[in-house]
């Protein structure tokens, strides 16, 4: 078996990850916006006698160091050259893509070119002569529709043939002036030693002043004095000349430009007023639809767990030791079961987010908000990682790599943890359904409160951090595309799988620890156990904000690991302090009821789906278990609201704190953790007292 390392390179948003998913059947993150891939991701694929190690590199327009994600690509290609480069080119934009191709050619690494989005090019009347393009560059060229056709055999055969024949691109020769400048640098200056990459590549980078040295600076200044022209401009003109020559030799356009749908839609989507209005409507519909579509099924899962599985355990194993029954019902069913019941909600939310990403709407958001966010020291690009925070704070903080200056990164990093990720959403939905008749306005309030404190934090940081020169914002806007259903469902499935995996491993393990603490020492009143004592001590801290029950405060302790653990812990803690009576439970009758209830849930989901934004499933009555009743009795609605506010603002997620630490250092992570705790407590205190005074509920 031969091992072949293949790097996928190309401009941002040309479909590199989509093509890797196509051939390797992986589930790499894809989206219709530049900056989806901000770090090197890998996959392995076996084909015939070859084991391909596939590397997905962040998209770039040039091999330089303008931002962290671009530096990942530049460093990888120069320090660890792969066996093959698969250069993904947008067929609708060949000439522009050939600028990066010219830089890749200088690496002298065997290359395959994929002209992706072939269908879109045909629609625009762009006809590319593939054979001629292949002859001009000297490598294999294949056309592709990454989202639709199966490319595995065609692309892998081409990679195998290129690898075996070591098919490197033809040499590029620029104007005499540029060639002389390159030769002078090669003759007189010390080019960085690299056994895999030709010195000519580095000489060109020295000419571009990407690699700086006194010797080459002297050569450049002398040449510029003689020519009275900027040598960088001459070099780029040459590269563009090559790109233009190749493009004009192979591209034929059969009809004139027409105003495209994208331009018509953008007249509204990017309008300073209508753009904002459209954004608010889209976001509202996305959250409302996710909620309404998933709630009936989520509710059914919760009900199935408490009204069927729970009594079933007691009915089937009446003589099992109490500790076993307590473990199954407390840790497994009431603990992890509660979290799993929110799986439909998480799946629906990711379907919504994927549609926004794949449609091309997401990259428009920075432009809509640029004017607003510039008031607190960042440009519109900061909005993209911030928006990703609504999916998960961890990849959102990693996506800060697309920002170019550290100041903006710090400001946005401090904003992200206040966005309501699905873990918080799950807690809000759980509390909302228990304590409030119509929880939708409460949840919307919490989302807005999170955004408010994100902005407030950004304003404070903008005042505190030393001012630096702000870098200009240049963004490419992809065309609007119909999100491929298969890819939308695949993304939602991958995220859902991750959520369930966490429920089955991390959250289960944490719940077992909580359950164990509830039984140490054994055979004592729950309040006298280790968990009871910790919770009892914490009551003094949380009493002023309306959380007076030791069981509620105890659930906040393991929640530092992940917010969903609040629910599983509550399930375990409250069920340990309640007594269930399943004398009248009839398996057959109850099962039939569950089947009917499931049918009803599916029907309600279908109704919610066809009436987005108008159904009101939250007013639906559900059967409450004794655990739910115990939770409801332990907190007032004011206390519950205060609890939700604290969970919103306090960064109780070890993964987020870890990524803050790795990206910005321990000091920043610890400072932020303290800040979020103090802020969460203070705001919960104010809201708790104010809502009571105003008799909000």
């Amino acid at each position: 078996m031969k091992n072949v390392e293949v790097a996928f390179v190309g401009n941002p948003n040309v479909g590199k990850s989509t093509i890797i998913n196509n051939i390797a059947k992986t589930s790499l993150k894809v989206g219709n916006w530049p900056g989806v891939t901000v770090r090197k991701t890998e996959a392995t694929l076996v084909y015939k006698d070859y084991e391909f190690h596939i590397i997905d590199l962040p998209g770039t327009y040039s091999l330089d160091y303008t931002s962290e994600d671009v530096a990942v690509t530049t460093d990888f290609l120069t320090n660890n050259p792969p066996d093959i480069i698969v250069n993904i080119i947008e067929a609708t934009n060949l000439e522009r893509s050939l600028i990066l191709t010219a830089e890749l050619i200088e690496l002298k690494i065997p290359m395959v070119i994929v002209l992706n989005m072939w269908d879109e090019a045909l629609k625009l009347g762009i006809d590319i002569n593939i054979k001629k393009l292949s002859e001009l560059i000297g490598v294999d060229v294949i056309s592709a529709i990454g989202t639709k056709e199966d490319l595995k055999d065609r692309l892998l055969e081409s990679i195998v043939s290129t690898y075996e024949k070591k098919k490197t691109p033809k040499d590029l020769r620029y104007s005499d002036i540029t060639e002389k400048a390159i030769n002078d640098i090669l003759s007189f200056c010390a080019v960085p030693p690299n056994k895999n990459i030709p010195p000519r590549f580095f000489a060109i980078k020295m000419l571009e002043r990407i690699i700086l040295c006194d010797c080459c600076n002297e050569i450049i200044l002398k040449l510029e004095n003689d020519l009275k022209e900027n040598i960088y401009d001459i070099l780029k003109k040459d590269i563009y000349g090559v790109a233009h020559f190749i493009s004009s030799s192979v591209v034929k356009r059969s009809f004139k430009d027409e105003i495209e749908l994208t331009e018509i839609l953008d007249k509204f989507a990017l309008h300073p007023f209508f753009g904002l209005l459209i954004f608010v409507v889209i976001m509202y519909l996305m959250f409302k639809l996710s909620f309404d579509v998933s709630y009936p099924i989520s509710n059914w899962i919760g009900d199935f767990e408490s009204s069927f599985l729970h009594p079933l355990v007691y009915k089937l194993f009446p003589k099992a030791p109490y500790i076993v029954k307590s473990f199954v019902s407390g840790a497994v069913l009431d603990g992890v079961g509660f979290v799993i019941s929110f799986a439909p909600l998480v799946g629906a939310l990711f379907v919504g987010l994927s549609v926004l990403e794949l449609s091309g709407y997401l990259p428009r958001v920075p432009i809509i908000f640029d004017r607003f966010v510039s008031k607190f020291g960042i440009d519109g690009r900061g909005i993209l990682p911030f928006m990703l925070g609504f999916g998960c704070n961890v990849p959102a903080i990693m996506a800060l790599k697309i920002l170019e200056d550290k100041r903006s990164k710090l400001i946005v990093a401090a904003m992200i943890p206040f966005t309501s990720c699905p873990a918080r959403f799950v807690v809000f939905a759980f509390f909302g359904a228990i304590f409030f008749k119509n929880p939708a306005p409460i949840i919307l309030f919490l989302y807005l409160l999170g955004i408010f404190f994100s902005i407030l934090t950004a304003i404070v940081m903008n005042k505190v951090l030393p001012k630096t020169e702000s870098l200009p914002m240049i963004l490419e806007l992809p065309p609007y595309r119909k999100p491929p259903l298969k890819i939308v469902l695949n993304i939602a499935f991958v995220e859902l799988k991750g959520f369930l995996k966490r429920a089955g491993t991390f959250i289960f393990a944490s719940t077992v620890v909580v359950w164990a603490f509830l039984h140490i020492p054994p055979n004592t009143n729950v309040k006298d156990t280790v968990a009871g004592k910790i919770g009892g001590a914490l009551v003094y801290v949380f009493k002023p904000i309306g959380i007076e029950d030791w069981r509620a405060t105890t659930s906040l302790v393991p929640a530092f690991l992940a917010r969903e653990i609040i629910i599983s812990s509550m399930g375990a803690i409250y069920s340990a302090s309640t007594k269930e009576d399943y004398q009248d439970f009839n398996i057959e009758k109850s099962f039939k009821e569950q089947v009917l209830s499931f049918e009803k849930a599916l029907k309600n989901t279908a109704i919610a789906f066809v009436s987005p934004g108008f159904s009101n499933v939250f007013t639906k009555e559900s059967t409450d278990s004794s655990t739910i009743k115990a939770i409801r009795d332990s907190l007032s609605p004011y206390g519950a609201l205060s609890f939700m506010v604290f969970v919103l603002l306090y960064t109780s997620c070890i993964a987020t704190v870890s990524i803050l630490k790795s990206e910005f250092g321990t000091k920043f992570a610890m400072l932020f953790l303290t800040y979020s705790f103090v802020l969460g407590w203070a705001v919960a205190f104010v809201i708790y007292r104010l809502s009571m005074v105003l008799h909000v509920f």
């Binding site: 040039s62 303008t66 000439e95 571009e208 900027n230 432009i367 200009p472 914002m473 240049i474 490419e476």
Partner: protein, 75 residues
Amino acid sequence: MKLIEVPQDKEAYIKGYVINGKNENPGWKRKLISMGIVPGAGVKILRKDDRNTILKVSNSRISICNCLADKIEVQ
């Protein structure tokens, strides 16, 4: 004539960049060039306001902040 002075939906050709001093290659110029905003390229203004300009070069729609649009010369 600077880019911002081109009326919306009218086509123009990029002539060069306005830079103070000699031999400057600031980061923004490198990025504009690598994104295809190069001398000789045809350009159409799709939208402009006091902060951002969205232009179309070849088949790409590119949003650039206005401070940069002021630095691009067209003819």
